[in-house]
Symmetry: D2
Subunit: 275 residues, 4 copies
């Protein structure tokens, strides 16, 4: 790898560090100091040793790894949720995506990664410190050209500056208060998403989505179960993350009249899932 | 939408159809015929009616929707698995990715979507009929320029033509027979992935990965639990997909010598997952 | 087995029938008629054949099998939930247990089974037809001496006739309306349980339990995942029951004063679960 | 409660202790000393205070609580698994049940609880220290009259002394080595059960069960998901136990001939589960 690369150093017991490799630089760990000059010029996947002789692998980090190691002030989204959000909302090359709030920037990063050089993520955050951290995190991943940061809160009166965006994600505790704004900012048939920890919040969001003519509402949870990678003793690990949040997806549609309501479509929801 | 667009028509009970909109074309359903001329020129998210008066929404399909509706001869990967695979293997703009076998092309499509215009997916398939179907599926999504199809089986002796690829996915019943080929084709520190339905297959694959110096092995399952989107009666749906496959991820690394083995790194696996 | 025994006949594809074996009797199935005279005198676990030559095994039914085959008018509790309820509420020999409503009698049967000859289950049901079915089901299992049936609804004013019972289970859609009655009927420190399908109902019940000084509240779900019993192809089955209900357990306690509240105890709930 | 009662004392943050209440006795905790003379004569569900003023509730322990608090040298079975085992194997009043090995006696206790005064549990253990602990645990619960302890290991040649038992549970790492003994000890059509942590062990057990004419084989896992009992913020807890073991159940049956094989019955397994 080369001077300036972002690298993942993985030591004993899978202890992992994301670092920018610089000439003369080093990583201090409680298993010893790793000198970057020992790394530069070697291929990815090589093993180096700390000054105490402990081995470290040098890997090119995947998006999932980068997101897990992101410096944060807040709860961040897990890769298991992010992967499903990107697929479900069709986030891809060239799209324009809105987000509020930015938080530590984990979903922002993943969306910026997915929209490519020709796409754009516009992200709102009310807290200056938080935005600063997210900016730093996203710059570190080299994705800052794809992200537009806005420092401002949403209020009942003031929503997004944008219109006609492809997708919009609300990572806020009270998304139900801004659904009319989401409706205005999204193009018709666009993709709305949100994540919420409690059932009570989901109920409130479902009411708001119904009120503002969103249809094709899906609510789901992604559960990730790891296994011990032992060929002769293959089994699930003992403990797992049981809950990060409920994911909610919906699409703004045009209703011709209110009698011929969305509920006709909604009623089939479960059956659809089952097939 | 316009002549030539790929659209998702969703009728009562969430019955969904992916169609290419063409002037003069139509979709025949048991709820009546939808004429495409009624659709052309309307915004996404509009509602049209079949000749029997049944409502259909016209939506821009997300990748997840496209993959679910893909014509298929084989079991295809689910969006829940695909989303996690893309994140975990860091599949993104500009990468070169290898796959075997192509199958109906669902993962091929998703990977082609993720690598963007500057990336490439090279996919091997032994059955001509299957490759033909996959070609058709991928062309339909407009992703054919990013995919190179190879019609050939892997054997113990003959592996991939490529070297130094960023990521490689084996969607075959016996990936353990080709791990030496995977090792040769991947760049050091690249991303290996596979999916297998049974525990016995996973055990065999884990042995092969160990034999050919792959480290950082993760085995996991992604479970997706849907909820009824009823604000006053919020609850999980009654039944769910319980198993699609075990996902296996690993990275080819350089070992200096065999005494100082990979197992030192592996032992920490579970702890790492837990934190 | 003998004349008068309750037996489980299991035919091809695990199709199962619970029958009372009587001389001269028979079971008609679409795989032929099984004559009970062919069964009487044979050991449990034997195989007999229908008049069409199809094999049937004759097994002594376990409680779980009996409950699954219970004739029913309503949703019944699943063995996975019943087993956990009995353990969690300490239902055992010699106890006095209250239940409302009886429904088809599945939990009633299980509780009657568990309290033994010296215990008693008193069960309330408002619908005469339902009680009649439950009576028949419980008599069929030979447990009628342990069960007292009451035909009456609970109202805001009129609760249970009993006091000081060991355990009390509410299998009603609105248990939150009767928590003051549950408090009066249970002995201090006794076991309260309920099952509810929706998160909204659970929230209402939690409020009511708090209001009437119940502590040590646990809410959980029991998920049962089956595997294909194939030694060479061991894997989870494709689909599973995703939700039957949320189980809620609590204990009525004595609070000395309201300032020194139950909440001090509650806050540790999750940690306790984690250890 | 009275002198001699077994009580559960629950302090702040749900810290729980199972103790035998004796005149003049006390419990020392890091939240202060609880004097049993303060407890004797009070009703269950009362609150007492330690000498430091910290509150403790005094509850009658349920079987689930007793099992969780059992002093142990080994991994013990969880209540979630025990409850399902008892239901699935039909363990109830008056039955004779075999077990190997005893371990710390948690399943032994639960089975002794379920068979009542007229039933019996016979349990084999090879390690003297372990049996001693189990004896102590079972005596503490007052269930010693229902349990017969045998200090002896099973070998390929020497199996159980008993015949015709109703149910038999193997809680051993290598149950597949003793299936012929299990077959001899169980009555025809009786209930066989086992629990194993790894998929590899399950595969071996499935082979052995097939070899010795066991049918109606079920393999499953019980997952328990707790929720935060907060009415306004109802949601799953963050982390959960992901795996304790795979449960395996089977019944010894009589096969008339080998051509007309068990497999005909087995093939329907999944479908049966699904319906």
């Amino acid at each position: 790898m080369n001077d300036g690369d972002l690298a993942q150093l993985v030591g004993l017991r899978h202890k992992s560090f994301i670092v920018r490799i610089k000439q003369g630089g080093e990583l201090q760990t409680h298993r010893g100091i790793v000198r970057f000059d020992d790394i530069i010029g070697k291929p990815w996947g090589s093993r180096v040793r700390s000054h105490l002789g402990n081995p470290f692998y040098v890997l090119q980090p995947a998006l999932g790894d980068l997101l897990k190691e992101l410096p944060r002030n807040t709860q961040i989204l897990y890769p298991k949720d992010i992967g499903f959000i990107l697929i479900q909302m069709g986030i891809g090359e060239g799209q324009v995506v809105l987000e509020a709030g930015t938080g530590s920037g984990s979903l922002t990063s993943a969306m910026a990664f997915a929209v490519g050089n020709s796409g754009k993520v516009i992200t709102y955050e009310a807290r200056e410190e938080m935005q600063k951290l997210a900016r730093k995190n996203i710059s570190r991943l080299g994705l800052e050209d794809r992200v537009e940061f806005k420092l401002r809160e949403l209020t009942a009166e003031q929503g997004f500056d944008e219109e006609g965006v492809d997708a919009l994600f609300l990572d806020l505790p009270n998304p139900y208060d801004y659904i009319h704004h989401a409706r205005s900012a999204l193009k018709l048939g666009g993709f709305f998403g949100s994540i919420l920890p409690t059932a009570n919040q989901v109920s409130r969001l479902l009411l708001a989505l119904r009120q503002f003519d969103f249809a094709f509402v899906d609510v789901c949870e992604v559960l990730l179960r790891y296994y011990k990678p032992e060929p002769e003793r293959f089994r699930p690990v003992d403990r797992m993350v049981a809950h990060t949040g409920f994911l909610i997806f919906a699409r703004p549609v045009l209703l011709e009249n209110t009698n011929d309501s969305i509920d006709d479509l909604e009623e089939g929801g479960e059956e659809d899932i089952e097939d």
